[in-house]
């Protein structure tokens, strides 16, 4: 154990000291934060506008429509379409004018109102959007028209305009949130953030383990090391050392996020009053599954590193590292939708999936303690097995020179001691 500690400590100190560590620690949250912030900012501030011409011989109808669609500044809200309405009478060349404006992009569409043959009938309404993108305006126009025509009918029957307005006041259903629901939603966001954090760190540091093993091979220092320590000790030391660097980095990020979240970030990222809240148990589970996931994937990476002689060769093999993660992403939605189904339980017990999916279940579902214990046990066993096999491959692989081994050769290597 002393040797594992020495290897891990050297790895940790040498890596923490590098400029690369400093740069990624600062840049990754900046880039991610920037992306999140800008997308939130853009969606909250962007206002869609629609410029519509209403062609009608009935000027009153067109004006009513205009006042219906163009709301007073006081009532305007974010995330609503702002309408600009041009009422037009029907002239001989009206059609060509609106078509031209439509083509030039001035108009998003026009509504052509053809008067009915008899007063008892309704006029015909034809909406021409600039493109199918503007087709959504049809619904808004229809409901506005409905309101206008209804008000007209009401006026005909002698109802005062103010009363008619009161009757036509749109009914608003407030989105009230049940307490339980809100927990669920905030947990969901927490899971997503941690999921991507985990994914990124596993990819980043798993590859670092592989690289650091290849580095040991190319510098050929392993032979000095193998003269005093076992390859298993060296593998374990590498995984621990590089892993601690990853944990340090995540720790710095989480700490910074905690400092900032109370004040600056929460109003921006917290989607309309929904905060990201993590319970203590969630943090503990996150750490447990993060460490398991990290150890699992980095021991696979260590095996890949042991098999290859250069970074280029590693690139070809890193599919094996990415594939389980991608598979995990594929089953992710079904577990998210139903965290306690039999299928989810099975998925969450498969070691490559366990760290992410079991964490998801812990946060959103109700896994039994038995499920949790089993998942931790299975993952730990498979980590041990992978490290064992990897160190075998490593020991024989480093003493061989030249080409990458074939599968039968790898199997033969396992028999060597």
């Amino acid at each position: 154990m002393h040797n594992v500690w020495l290897i891990a400590r050297r790895e940790y100190i040498e890596r923490i000291r590098t400029r690369g560590f400093l740069v990624t620690t600062i840049m990754i949250p900046l880039i991610l934060g920037g992306l999140i912030f800008s997308s939130v900012f853009v969606t909250s501030k962007s206002v869609s506008r629609a410029h519509i011409a209403i062609v009608s011989s009935d000027t009153q109808l067109a004006l009513d429509l205009q006042s219906q669609l163009e709301p007073q500044p006081a009532t305007s809200r974010a995330n609503q379409t702002h309408y600009t309405i041009d009422p037009m009478g029907i002239g001989p060349d009206t059609r060509s004018i609106v078509d031209q404006e439509l083509a030039s992009g001035d108009l998003d569409g026009y509504l052509w109102i053809t008067p009915a043959a008899t007063p008892a009938q309704r006029p015909t309404f034809t909406f021409t959007p600039r493109s199918s993108e503007q087709d959504y305006l049809r619904g808004a126009l229809a409901s506005a028209l409905g309101a206008v025509l209804l008000r007209e009918q009401l006026a005909h029957r002698g109802i005062v305009a103010s009363e008619a307005d009161a009757m036509l006041q749109p009914i608003e259903i407030r989105a009230a949130q049940a307490i339980r629901r809100q927990d669920h939603a905030s947990a969901e966001i927490g899971v997503f953030i941690l999921f991507f954090l985990m994914y990124m760190v596993i990819m980043l540091y798993g590859m670092n383990v592989a690289r650091s093993i290849i580095e040991e091979k190319t510098s050929r220092i392993f032979e000095v090391l193998l003269a005093t320590i076992r390859p298993e000790e060296m593998m374990a030391g590498k995984i621990l050392g590089v892993g601690s660097v990853g944990l340090t980095q995540v720790g710095i990020w989480l700490f910074a996020a905690l400092l900032l979240s109370g004040k600056a970030i929460a109003p921006v990222v917290g989607f309309q009053g929904m905060h990201i809240e993590l319970s203590g148990a969630q943090v503990v589970y996150f750490l447990v599954y993060f460490i398991l996931g990290y150890a699992f994937y980095s021991s696979i990476a260590a095996g890949l590193g042991a098999m290859t002689n250069s970074e280029q060769e590693l690139q070809q093999l890193n599919l094996f590292l990415v594939l389980p993660l991608i598979a995990c992403m594929i089953v992710f939605p079904s577990v998210l939708a139903n965290p306690d189904s039999a299928l989810s339980r099975i998925f969450a017990l498969i070691p490559p999936f366990t760290p992410l999916l079991m964490y998801l279940r812990v946060s959103l579902g109700h896994p039994t303690p038995w499920d949790i214990a089993l998942s931790i046990l299975l993952t730990s066993i498979s980590i041990y097995a992978i490290v064992w096999v990897s160190s075998r491959i490593y020991r024989v692989g480093v003493l061989m020179y030249g080409k990458r081994p074939t599968l039968p050769e790898l199997l033969r290597w396992l028999k060597y001691s």
């Binding site: 040797n3 020495l6 050297r10 040498e14 040991e216 510098s219 050929r220 220092i221 392993f222 032979e223 000095v224 090391l225 193998l226 003269a227 005093t228 320590i229 076992r230 003493l399 061989m400 020179y401 030249g402 050769e409 033969r412 060597y416 001691s417």
Partner: protein, 325 residues
């Protein structure tokens, strides 16, 4: 008491036999040369001595006990392929390697400094390893193998790539260690290098032990049958029947005498005859070099059809490439 004892060890890599039936014993205070051309199994043998690989059959004993990893703290190893952490500071690196061999950080760092002084590379201590010259890196690696004061020192091709001054410095360091009772094993394919220093050798070729024993015994068991003559004038004396073969350059000739019971007298009569015909500026009866003994033994045990004299280069070729394991 023996430091190393190999008994009938054998190692096969896939289809290539790296070492076959190799046995020898090394006593304390021995400077042991493991000699052979490239790819003859030197590195494989050394790796098996310290458990980096395990022999397929046969047994390895270190310090009179069957090999266990617990004795590795008493072994210092300089691999053939040098390797150090490039980005690491020299003192940190040496301290780290010393700690892996069981030293405390303080002791390791103090000894590292002392060794750097002894090998005249004090200026390297604060530098990064990648900023050092090849020779300096080699010295650092040399120090790393000796830092924990091992009783058994294994050096795989320790002088390759070193200039003569530094090679001599390292060699005399090893001789000093040997004189205080450490056993030093080093492998090399440069046989001329070791003749002066080794008191015991093992010659291996294609994984087989060809010859082993103390240097003095081996040399004395071979007749002094070679004569070097520098002369001016008539070369009729070269018709002498005691000459088996010779190679002539201008004005000097290297003669190999026909084996006979009266070898020493043959040389004298050759000298008498030469003086009668020519002016002799140099006449020397020489013992065979290690290289010649080696070639002769190889030809005896593994007859190879070659036109004339077998050279080291041919031997290396016949050993085959493959992985140098």
């Amino acid at each position: 008491m023996s430091i190393v004892q190999l008994q009938n060890i054998r190692k096969v890599y896939d289809t290539k036999v790296a070492v076959e039936d190799l046995s020898f014993t090394i006593e304390p205070g021995t400077m042991f040369g493991l000699l052979g051309p490239n790819g003859s199994g030197k590195t494989s043998s050394i790796r098996m001595m310290i458990g980096i690989t395990v022999p397929d059959s046969g047994s390895v004993s270190l310090f009179d006990k069957p090999f266990t990893r617990s004795v590795l703290g008493r072994v210092g190893y300089l691999p053939e392929e040098r390797g150090l952490y490039k980005k690491m500071n020299v003192l940190d690196q040496l301290t780290f390697l010393g700690q892996l061999h069981g030293l405390s950080a303080a002791v390791a760092s103090r000894r590292a400094t002392l060794w750097c002084e002894r090998l005249d590379i004090v200026e390297a201590i604060p530098k990064k390893t990648e900023d050092l010259s090849k020779g300096m890196q080699q010295k650092i690696q040399f120090i790393a193998a000796l830092l924990h004061d091992p009783d058994l020192i294994l050096m795989d091709e320790p002088f390759s790539g070193l200039d003569p001054v530094n090679a001599f410095l390292l060699m005399s360091t090893l001789v000093d260690l040997c004189s205080i009772g450490k056993a030093v094993i080093f492998s090399t394919h440069r046989m001329d290098q070791v003749e002066k220093f080794c008191n015991s050798i093992a010659l291996i070729h294609r994984g087989h032990l060809i010859l082993s024993g103390s240097m003095r015994e081996i040399k004395s068991s071979y007749p002094r049958n070679r004569v070097l003559i520098h002369y001016e004038g008539d070369d009729a004396f070269l018709q002498n029947p005691c000459i088996e073969n010779m190679s002539r350059y201008n004005g000097n000739v290297e003669i190999r005498l026909r084996p006979s019971a009266t070898l020493a007298d043959d040389a004298q009569s050759l000298l008498t005859q030469a003086i009668q015909h020519a002016r002799v500026t140099r006449f020397e009866v020489m013992e065979p070099t290690l290289e010649e003994i080696f070639i002769e033994k190889v030809q005896e045990t593994l007859p190879i059809k070659t036109g004339g004299k077998l050279s080291m280069a041919q031997l290396e070729q016949s050993s085959g490439g493959g992985h140098d394991a």
